[in-house]
């Protein structure tokens, strides 16, 4: 099952690359550098999904004390940190030619950096506690509190005056994106979601094996 998902993910990523580099047109204002968005936007949406699952797993673990929920939360947290890191790095590389700077303390960038640090702390906490139940309980509290930052990241561009552009995909208004660019973004988003599902499946299996040893 996981192997099939792996091959489907590889295919999805190849189709995503083809959509981003061969199908989608060169953006009129930003030029080729806009193609970084096919990596940046799916990365942050995948990170939101991962941290949403950390929240779900944390609440469910505190309610049921079933270790499977803690495995879900811990595994999703690790993968969420990976995709948040990719979001920050790809956004920074895009920012240099577009904004003229690698980094600025804009509301969206700062709140994303805080999100990254919170979940790195979450992973650090998990690695410091040996007792599985205590680890699950303490990590669940951080996992629930950390999720508060997700809407702050998403709505930061509305709540504060920011350099970062407002939401064009998950915004309330119809998306102004060119249909070909929108399709390429959607294909890459789906490919990253598959990649997340594949990583999560493998990471949870490793967590299960670690508990047995």
């Amino acid at each position: 099952m996981t192997r099939a998902l792996g091959w489907l993910t590889a295919l999805g990523l190849l189709v995503g690359l083809a959509a981003g580099f061969l199908y989608a047109p060169r953006e009129a204002v930003q030029g080729n550098v806009q193609r970084i968005m096919y990596l940046h936007v799916p990365s942050v949406l995948t990170a939101y999904l991962a941290f949403g699952l950390v929240l779900l797993g944390s609440i469910a673990y505190l309610a049921t004390r079933r270790p499977g929920w803690d495995r879900l939360a811990g595994s999703a947290g690790e993968i969420g940190v990976l995709f948040t890191g990719l979001t920050i790095v790809s956004g920074s590389i895009w920012g240099k030619p577009t904004w003229g700077t690698w980094w600025t303390w804009d509301a969206r960038l700062t709140s994303t950096a805080v999100l990254f640090c919170v979940y790195v702390g979450y992973l650090l906490l998990r690695s410091l506690i040996d007792d599985p139940d205590a680890r699950g309980r303490y990590a669940a509290v951080v996992g629930i509190l950390g999720a508060v930052n997700i809407p702050i990241v998403h709505f930061s561009v509305k709540w504060w005056r920011a350099l970062h552009q407002p939401s064009t995909i998950l915004g309330p208004e119809p998306s102004p994106i060119d249909p070909a660019i929108g399709l390429a973004l959607f294909v890459n988003w789906m490919a990253f979601t598959l990649l997340f599902a594949y990583f999560l499946s493998r990471r949870m299996e490793i967590a299960r094996l670690e508990e047995q040893t």
């Binding site: 030029g31 080729n32 550098v33 193609r35 970084i36 990596l39 940046h40 990365s43 993968i79 990976l82 890191g85 990719l86 790095v89 790809s90 590389i93 895009w94 240099k96 030619p97 990649l195 990583f199 493998r202 990471r203 299996e205 490793i206 094996l209 670690e210 040893t213």
Partner: protein, 45 residues
């Protein structure tokens, strides 16, 4: 408008290294956990 392909390649290159590296880390960890351990001989009393 400059082509800026260098930035595009840098972003995708770093992402490929990070994702491939994480995949390899998971594969190695899974292999280490599923590898059968050599049986230890019971010490004679």
């Amino acid at each position: 408008m400059p082509a800026n392909w260098g930035y595009v390649l840098a972003a995708y290159g770093i992402a490929a290294i990070a994702l491939f590296g994480y995949w390899r880390h998971l594969a190695r960890r899974a292999r280490a956990l599923t590898r059968p351990r050599p049986a230890t001989k019971a010490r004679a009393a």
